[in-house]
């Protein structure tokens, strides 16, 4: 397969704005085009990741840049929408159908718990089984029971990510919280607390992809896409929402493990050779489980990994240098591309106080409803 590169990235901050989704999305796309040094009319195909926006959002957003006649396709794969869109963009170039592709993600979401009817059956909603954090919390509770993971270790993930966010202009919350503040914040679903979960919000992020030929022609500063994989969870591997039942005898590898294995195989290298990570911290516990499934540590030792400081900036495996979704919020369609914007900046060495020194490889990971998981690996 031919190599595909990211030659530009841009974003609209994540937060809550009195602006239309068209404005939010088109500002991010324009920023990515400007960063790449190309014009909108040069783009030959575009993909728009979104979950909560109406049909043909991609066309409505990108029309703000001028109504060209290219293919614009909306992509939805729950929290992994951005990864699915990036995969399609890469495949379009690898198929030889285009040399320059825009991949963007845009979202504008209501406050509070997500609309349950999008994910759960009506009977589950009636019985109160329709709150996403409940499912994350049940995983946390079991992990604590089996491996001795502690409330403090879970809070340390939130502490680290909030601390990292202070220097990130993309983040909705750019504030440091003490361990005491986190551990005393309101319980949402035991053991997960308010300062340990992310909030749905508005935001957009975009990248410009180019073929090797186009990179040479433009003389662009390019980051290589080393691998992308997207999957949904195998039977009985995951009791993230909207699970109704599981097998009591089968213990299949979870979606993060499956997707990581595929992405590592495409990249030709694995976790030990990756310098920095942005992962789905919809709740603080989730990040601990992801450490294990990505192979940053053995199963059961994720709590100790954060406690020992390995996942801080400056640690052996820095995770969520941007502040993660806990600080940025999760505009679902935009979240993975937001991670990619951060990772591109890390590989360019332009992250200032949150820079991972000498980062040459990077991994972005998203995971959500239906066990939708996407992983993108980048290489300088």
């Amino acid at each position: 397969m031919s190599n595909v590169y990211i030659i530009g990235s841009g974003y609209h901050p994540f937060g809550r704005f009195d602006k239309s989704y068209q404005q939010i999305g088109s500002e991010a796309a324009a920023a990515a085009l400007s960063d790449a040094g190309v014009e909108w009319r040069d783009i030959q195909a575009a993909y728009m990741a979104r979950m909560y926006l109406p049909a043909t959002s991609g066309a409505r957003i990108l029309r703000c840049l001028g109504a060209t006649d290219i293919s614009v396709i909306d992509i939805e794969a729950a929290c992994a929408s951005g990864g699915a869109a990036l995969l399609q963009g890469m495949l379009t170039i690898q198929a030889g159908a285009a040399d320059l592709v825009l991949v963007a993600g845009t979202e504008k979401m209501p406050r509070g718990f997500m609309d349950p009817s999008m994910i759960y059956s009506p009977w589950q909603v009636e019985l109160g089984m329709s709150m996403n954090p409940a499912y994350w919390s049940m995983r946390a509770m079991r992990h604590m029971h089996e491996y001795g993971t502690t409330h403090e270790q879970i809070a340390m993930v939130a502490y680290k990510n909030h601390l990292n966010s202070v220097h990130n202009p993309m983040a909705m919350y750019r504030k440091e919280f003490s361990m005491e503040q986190i551990l005393n914040s309101q319980l949402v679903c035991d053991p997960i607390r308010l300062l340990e979960i992310c909030a749905p919000n508005d935001g957009a992020a975009a990248v410009v992809l180019a073929s090797e030929r186009k990179v040479r022609e433009l003389g662009a500063q390019a980051i290589k896409i080393a691998g992308i994989a997207h999957s949904i969870s195998r039977y009985s591997s995951d009791f993230r929402c909207p699970a109704e039942s599981m097998s009591a005898t089968m213990d299949n590898v979870g979606p993060t493990g499956v997707t990581a294995e595929r992405a590592y195989a495409v990249a030709g290298f694995g976790a030990e050779d990756i310098d920095c990570f942005e992962v789905q911290d919809t709740d603080a516990f989730c990040e601990i489980e992801i450490y294990e499934e990505l192979g940053l540590c053995p199963v059961g030792e994720g709590g100790r990994l954060v406690e020992d400081g390995h996942t801080r900036i400056g640690g052996s495996h820095p995770v969520n240098m941007s502040g993660g979704l806990i600080s940025k919020g999760e505009p679902v369609g935009a979240s993975h591309l937001g991670q990619i914007v951060e990772l591109v900046a890390q590989l360019r060495g332009t992250c200032g106080p949150r820079q991972v020194e000498g980062a040459k490889t990077a991994l972005g990971h998203v995971l959500g409803a239906g066990g939708n998981c996407a992983i993108t690996i980048l290489q300088k």
Partner: protein, 144 residues
């Protein structure tokens, strides 16, 4: 025993036994003839292998708590719990060593423990627009 009131399951095919007598109601499952896995309720295809070689089974009424959480805020959407919200347990209940089922939990929230024995509890949730009683389920502490 039968009642004059018509009864329906909150989800078609979720239960085994006659809804007329709640003592005769159990969770239903679909056992796959190809891979042996059991899906919750009546399903069209095995959730593991996709086979349609399925037979309907009644699941046992006893279970144990595999994991749980406490829902501290009123769930969004059409939640039919008490008008004045009360925090409740939600858990994954292991039944017959073959299946784990997501279910609301009746025991006091402070008494919930992983591994605790539980018992199936069908109940009338509400009356629908046609006057039929809608049967739902939860798990209570064993022995209650």
């Amino acid at each position: 025993m039968s009642t004059a009131m018509k009864r329906i399951a909150i989800k078609e095919g979720l239960f085994a036994g006659s809804l007329d007598d709640l003592h005769d109601v159990h969770l239903g499952g679909s056992k796959c003839g190809a891979c042996g896995e059991v899906g919750l309720g009546k399903v069209e295809a095995c959730p593991n292998c996709g086979s349609d070689d399925l037979s309907q089974v009644a699941l046992g009424d006893n279970g144990s708590l595999y994991t749980y959480t406490i829902v501290r805020h009123r769930p969004p959407g059409n939640y039919q719990g008490p008008a004045e919200f009360k925090p409740f347990g939600l858990g994954l209940v292991e039944i017959d060593g073959v299946i784990q089922v997501m279910a609301p939990l009746l025991p006091e929230i402070d008494s919930l423990r992983i591994g605790m024995p539980l018992r199936f509890h069908p109940y009338v949730l509400r009356t629908d627009e046609n006057g039929a009683e809608v049967i739902a389920f939860a798990y209570g502490a064993a022995g209650e």
